[in-house]
């Protein structure tokens, strides 16, 4: 063993020394964005946006069996970014990521943008990537079997709770239950496809996640009507797109694509009337639709027209994927425009 190990150790040490000395030398790996030649150029060159999504969460991003396409609220925001940058909402390569792989994927820049029902926290904002405006204000909820007669968190004393690892949910669960002195057990999984079947089979008495996720996945359980979501909300879960750290231009693009969908709804611009609105009398609408050219994002002047024609304004995206007429029928609630008492508020799109 010794004779086998020594050369390996020697070479490793040698390599580390060389690496430490030659820190100036190493070249950029292909495809990774340097400080110059940012991600906006990289995406344009590639002709495709690589968007990290969940891929297994109905309503947000999942493979639609009928159309065989990635469908959902998050998926539509991927298309919105692609439409803004490339003028083509279908120029998206969706990458399915688990809770374990999403962090490294955005940290290393494997994906151009992460739109995977990801909660904005200070640690993620500094170590994962920059969070664009929240697209979905959510809160953590708990789903239980109706037959168990559970009304509050206190009723869950000594219960086993299924939760996904590597989520804020996992941390909030411990915070809230410990703070209230409620003893509990967890059963943790790294994928949605393991968590909910395990709960459905009966290994857990409850499952906790973002309320929207509970509503969405309830439809996939064997008997959706046998399960209820408790009224209590355990935490704030602002979900939004994430752009890689250290590229301000690209971050601004992602940020303003989201704002554009807010502003379009506020100004009454929809996918059906956007073409007529171009050159509107209203200066706010005219500017938004490119009347004053590019205001510094480095995109085509009429990029908002491309976005809205492709996916519609925020209200359209929401209603199409989560609103009435979908199996989820989620109320807009906090996800209404500020003019309707919600939290969606876009800064002025002007010079």
């Amino acid at each position: 063993m010794r004779s086998n190990l020594m050369p390996v150790v020697g070479i490793t040490v040698l390599a580390l020394v060389v690496a430490a000395c030659g820190e100036t030398a190493p070249s950029q790996p292909a495809g990774s964005p340097g400080a110059e030649g940012g991600r906006l150029d990289l995406v344009r060159e590639r002709g495709q946006l690589i968007c990290g999504v969940n891929g297994a969460l109905p309503g947000f991003s999942f493979l639609d069996q009928a159309t065989n396409e990635m469908s959902g609220f998050d998926a539509d925001f991927c298309r919105a970014v692609a439409a803004a940058v490339l003028g083509d909402p279908e120029a998206v390569e969706f990458r399915n990521l688990t809770t374990d792989t999403r962090g490294p994927a955005i940290q290393t820049g494997e994906v151009d943008v992460l739109i995977r029902n990801t909660t904005w926290t200070v640690a993620r904002d500094t170590s994962w990537g920059l969070f664009a405006p929240t697209t979905f204000y959510d809160g953590q909820g708990v789903m239980v079997r109706a037959a168990d007669g559970i009304a509050s968190l206190e009723d869950l004393a000594d219960a086993t709770i299924c939760v996904q690892t590597g989520t804020t949910t996992e941390l909030n669960l411990a915070d809230v239950f410990d703070a209230r002195g409620i003893p509990f057990e967890t059963e943790t999984f790294s994928e949605i496809e393991q968590t909910y079947p395990a709960y459905d089979e009966g290994t857990c008495d409850a499952v906790t996640s973002d309320r929207s996720q509970l509503v969405a996945t309830r439809t996939t359980l064997a008997n959706p009507d046998d399960h209820v979501i408790l009224d209590e909300v355990l935490s704030k879960e602002p979900l939004g797109p994430v752009a890689p750290l250290g590229d301000d231009q690209w971050f601004n693009v992602v940020k303003w694509v989201v704002f554009a969908t807010f502003q379009a709804e506020e100004s009454g611009i929809t996918s059906s009337n956007v073409q007529d609105m171009v050159g509107s009398e209203d200066p706010v609408i005219a500017r938004l639709l490119g009347g004053e050219g590019d205001l510094g994002l480095g995109l085509e002047a009429d990029w908002v027209v491309d976005v809205i024609s492709a996916v519609g304004n925020y209200g359209e995206i929401y209603d199409r994927n989560l609103g009435p007429g979908t199996p989820f029928e989620l109320e807009r609630g906090l996800n209404s425009l500020w003019t309707d008492g919600g939290l969606l508020y876009a800064p002025p799109y002007r010079s």
Binding site: I11, A15, E23, D100, A159, G166, E170
Partner: protein, 396 residues
């Protein structure tokens, strides 16, 4: 390094670029340089990539509050503890599964390996089928099958299967009564320990008697009798029994009290054991078949029974062949235990993945995990190599 041409007169006329001795050295230096350069490139890449993204390489986060709960913790752990303690929980779980898995897989593997050579047609076929199925399907698939298709299909906890002796089996796991120490436990243990110490002394004196031929009192027997006596008398003498059985009781959601084997733990343990045992069985079969037929015939001629032949003649010789490949099976088992993540058992890898996720520090965490598995594997091989030296024939 530089073999000077001309020193060896037979090769004096060979130019350096055709001198085999020089070419060999040059080739080796080039190979080392190439490997070192590749590693340096990778390392440098990592360093620049991390500094570009403002990620520091360090283990300071191990002292931070972890904030997540871990089921199946073998030591007291709660969400308020540090990442360092979470890592320890994972390490202990891995070692626990590893050690238990190795023991059980060895027993099962030896039995199956011997049975595979049986003259009984049925036994031979059944074990043969078992080995082929287990060796030729992926472990991950087997684990999923075991977890979702077998263990989760057990009745829910409210309708647990009640086995005799307050043992309950459900999809949540196996719940057993646990011995519980009462205040009388300490004195009782002291009494038994004293008697056992006497018995140990007995062994020493009897060894001396054998060596010197001097007569000594039979301390060993006195000690053993004392130990048994102390255990029996002590059990009743202290008023309360030193050990009581705590029976699991069904609460609102789950059993409490007693011992339990959770479903994830059962899944990974059984999965690893039956998978690795199939490989061990083949190793054992190979070892046994390597013992020359004459040895068995000689043992029979001496009138040894079938069992004694195996135990005294075949196995000691087979072990020499068995132990080295057995070591790699042990290493495989420990490394395969990282698949516990698939069934939700918080072993080293699963806790590590959660840590890397919650800290946003994947590189240090992965380095830590790799270093730990490497250390476990090296210690395992060290022990097995020591054992191997013991069973090898001393060449004379």
């Amino acid at each position: 390094m530089t073999a000077a041409p001309g020193v060896d007169h037979r090769h004096a006329s060979v130019p350096p670029w055709r001198d085999v001795r020089i070419l060999r050295v040059v080739a080796q230096v080039a190979a080392v340089a190439a490997v070192a350069a590749a590693l340096a490139w990778l390392g440098g890449n990592l360093v620049t990539a991390m500094s570009e993204r403002g990620l520091a390489f360090g283990f300071g986060f191990l002292d931070n509050r972890a904030g997540f709960a871990i089921p199946d913790s073998p030591m007291p752990y709660e969400a308020n503890d540090t990442y360092g303690q979470a890592y320890l929980v994972g390490l202990l779980n891995t070692l626990f599964v590893g050690v238990l898995g190795i023991l059980l897989a060895t027993v099962l593997g030896v039995v199956v390996g011997v049975a595979r050579l049986s003259d009984n047609w049925l036994v031979k076929r059944v074990t043969g089928t078992y080995i082929e199925v287990m060796r030729n399907t992926p472990l991950l698939v087997q684990l999923f099958f075991l977890y979702f298709a077998v263990l989760l299909q057990l009745p829910p906890v409210a309708d647990s299967i009640a086995l005799p002796g307050s043992v309950y089996l459900s999809q949540r796991g196996l719940f057993l009564p646990a011995p519980q120490a009462s205040p009388a436990f300490g004195p009782w243990v002291a009494l038994v320990a004293m008697a056992l110490a006497l018995a140990l002394l007995g062994r020493v004196t009897s060894a001396r008697r054998k060596a010197t031929g001097r007569r000594t009192p039979p301390w060993g027997r006195i000690g053993l009798a004392g130990a048994l006596g102390a255990a029996v008398v002590g059990w009743f003498a202290f008023g309360a029994a030193p050990l009581t059985l705590q029976v699991p009781e069904l609460g609102r959601f789950n059993f409490s009290g007693g011992m339990s084997m959770s479903t994830p733990f059962t899944a990974i343990l059984i999965g690893l054991v039956i998978y690795t045992a199939a490989f061990i069985a083949e190793v054992v079969r190979g070892g046994i078949q390597s013992v020359r037929r004459g040895q068995v015939e000689a043992a029979r001629a001496l009138g040894l029974s079938e069992g004694d032949t195996l135990r005294l003649v075949v196995f000691p010789q087979a072990l020499r062949i068995i132990v080295p490949p057995l070591t790699s099976q042990y290493l495989n088992l420990v490394k395969n235990s990282s698949l516990a993540i698939a069934v939700g058992y918080p072993d080293l890898f699963k806790v590590g993945v959660t840590m890397s996720n919650q800290t946003g520090q994947p590189v240090p965490v992965i380095v830590l995990i790799m270093g730990t598995y490497l250390a476990i594997s090296l210690v395992t091989s060290l022990l097995m190599n020591a054992y191997n030296r013991r069973v090898q024939v001393l060449e004379r």
